[in-house]
């Protein structure tokens, strides 16, 4: 295969991939009183939680390997995302089943940051951003700028 990736190539290419998972959550913090929780989080504070079909979109950048034409092999990427995110999150309660959300509120903002933290270790390409659709009307993006999940170290 000819190496067509030229030095000084004027184009920057990113690979995007979407995944789906379903999970429940409850927005509630021990730092607020019951009334305040109710006022701040509204129906998302329902004691028994509720769920969403989340869509996760990730964007990776890197050189296109001339031998494969790929920034990252999809099989490597899919198995990494499955292990780090889909298996621990899909059909789970984010509050109960994902350790980090025992201390912080599992809003989709925080979910984005947590997913970014997990996926940035992907060894074969650079994670550019994580976008999560909580519903088709609400989506959140995080690209790892300055960070912080309340009470946690920098991601």
């Amino acid at each position: 295969m000819t190496d067509r990736v030229q030095i000084g190539d004027t184009v920057r290419v990113e690979l995007g991939r979407r995944y789906r998972f379903a999970a429940s959550h409850r927005l509630h913090t021990a730092q607020l009183s019951e009334e305040e929780n109710c006022r701040v989080f509204g129906k998302c504070n329902n004691p028994y939680g509720h769920g969403h079909n989340y869509v996760l979109e990730i964007r990776l950048s890197g050189e296109i390997d001339p031998a494969t034409g790929m920034i990252a092999n999809l099989a490597d990427m899919d198995s990494f995302v499955a292990r780090e995110v889909l298996e621990p999150f899909d059909h789970k309660s984010l509050n109960e089943d994902v350790a980090v959300f025992r201390d912080i509120v599992p809003t989709t903002e925080n979910l984005c940051i947590e997913i970014y933290r997990r996926l940035k270790e992907f060894p074969h390409a650079k994670l550019e951003r994580v976008r999560v659709e909580e519903t088709s009307n609400n989506s959140f993006e995080y690209s790892g700028d300055t960070v912080n999940l309340t009470g946690r170290e920098k991601a």
Binding site: R12, V13, L15, G16, R17, I64, T68, G69, I71, A75
Partner: protein, 142 residues
């Protein structure tokens, strides 16, 4: 600055195969995309042009012109074609989403005279796409 996006769809077949690899290596690296007789996709292409609206026409560029450029440069080259054999610009490359998107960027960039090509996004399926940006042009944008 305003971003203008036009979407087109084309259908094409391809196969992932590197003649420098053994048969087993090809199957291991490319999986079912290495099927000897190829397979195909409905590709969706979104082309985004950035610019200031012309004070007289109110347009970043004339959509009719963009439509013609996309017809000539992309549709006629790639629609209902086999990307491995019928698109000279892809010769010697594996026709992955990344490589096809980059070829499309390189075809379109010199043809867009009003405004400036900002992003090429090529969907191979609803769950897999590649984005191209001008190198060094700041963040990834929307």
């Amino acid at each position: 600055m305003v971003l203008l996006t036009r979407k087109i769809e084309f259908s094409a077949s391809h196969r992932y195969h590197n003649p420098a690899f053994s048969s087993e290596e090809n199957r291991r690296v490319f999986g079912k995309c290495n099927n000897p007789h190829g397979h195909g996709h409905n590709y969706t292409l979104e082309v985004t042009v950035a610019g200031e609206p012309d004070p007289v026409t109110g347009m970043v560029l004339d959509l009719k012109e963009l439509k013609e450029i996309l017809e000539r440069e992309v549709m006629q080259r790639m629609d209902h074609r086999h990307l491995n054999f019928e698109v000279p610009e892809l010769a010697g490359q594996i026709p992955t989403c990344e490589n096809i998107a980059r070829v499309i960027w390189n075809l379109l960039d010199p043809k867009i005279k009003q405004g400036r090509l900002h992003r090429v996004r090529l969907y191979e399926s609803a769950d897999l796409f590649a984005d191209c940006y001008r190198n060094g042009a700041g963040g990834a944008g929307p």
